[in-house]
Amino acid sequence: MNLDDDVLLRRFQNGDHNAFETLFHRYKDQTYNFAYRMLGNKETAGDITQEVFMKLFNSQKNPTQINNLKNYLFILTRNLCLNRIRDTKKESSLDLIAEEKSVGNEISNLKLLKLKKAFIRLESDLKEALVLKEYQGFSYKEISEILGLSVSAVKSLLFRARLRLKEVYEKINSKR
């Protein structure tokens, strides 16, 4: 049975830990991938994912008003990623370099690798907008709720993000 988030969240807040487990399995990969694309490092993405679900679990003791669980998780992940970026002052791309060795000479793989490199160099606000749209499939309205912006601002942000990605990608491309 596929219960919706609100029902499961209410059950979890009433002490049903199976409900938490179901929610965890529903959002673990999305949270992990969002953090991974934001930070470019699997280990740090793992730490962030763990922190997100620990916070959700601990919210059972001090229930907070969660109107939309999916948005709540992404806002939490985004804030933790931004804190991490601010603290470390650099976004590690060690994993991407490691992946480069395993990638063959196929043109499509090479293009993807360059795109990843370009992606990692994007400014945080542009990157998060792109990840939320391209990889998490959020609508403009949902992104505006997560980022705390208007819908037209999201539209403009995504446009700037694409232009910047294109610019960095072409720069990387021209080096070879």
Binding site: H17, N18, F20, E21, F24, K28, D29, Q30, Y32, N33, Y36, R37, K42, G46, T49, Q50, F53, M54, F57, S108, K111, L112, L115, K116, F119, L130, K133, E134, Y135, S139, Y140, K155, S156, L158, F159, R162, L165, K166, Y169
Partner: protein, 154 residues
């Protein structure tokens, strides 16, 4: 509308966020503006490459770790005889066997009280009480006549 506005529409089109009217206006513009048409093509190519970056799965170890630190911790079963505060760590089967043995002895003591010291005392007690209330009733026949002999003492 200028080219910048149309370029924003190109991006929104890739996101499938255009109305029918906007789509119509954009397609008309792209027919006459080579600059915007070229950008539309480039952004489309970039989107294709972007879509090849597949999601990865969360590592199994990490998944276990998170569950262990959340639900599994609070679900941990309390050991039998936990009220002893962990001073006595006994195997569960042994603990249950001890409890069962105690129950058997308890039931046995109720069903067969003579076999216990306490039960035996319970029987003895009434006998002692009866002996205390016994009365010696003397009748006239039982009266013994006593004589007193008076005499000098040597």
């Amino acid at each position: 509308m200028n080219c910048l506005d149309f370029q924003q529409l190109i991006s929104a089109k890739l996101d499938k966020e255009l109305t029918q009217d906007e789509e119509q206006i954009l397609s008309e513009h792209l027919k006459i503006c080579t600059n915007c048409a070229s950008l539309a093509k480039e952004l489309e190519e970039l989107k294709v490459i972007t879509s090849t970056w597949k999601n990865v799965q969360i590592p199994v170890e990490l998944e276990k770790q998170i569950l262990n630190r959340t639900v599994k911790t609070t679900r941990k079963e309390r050991p039998v005889l936990s009220f002893l505060g962990g001073y006595y760590k006994v195997p569960r089967s042994l603990a249950w066997a001890s409890i069962l043995l105690c129950l058997i002895l308890l039931v046995n003591s109720f069903l067969n009280p003579l076999s216990t010291i306490k039960g035996a005392r319970k029987i003895e007690k009434p006998i002692q009480e009866i002996s205390r209330v016994q009365k010696i009733v003397l009748t006239e026949r039982d009266v013994v006549v006593t004589y007193t002999v008076l005499g000098k003492k040597n």
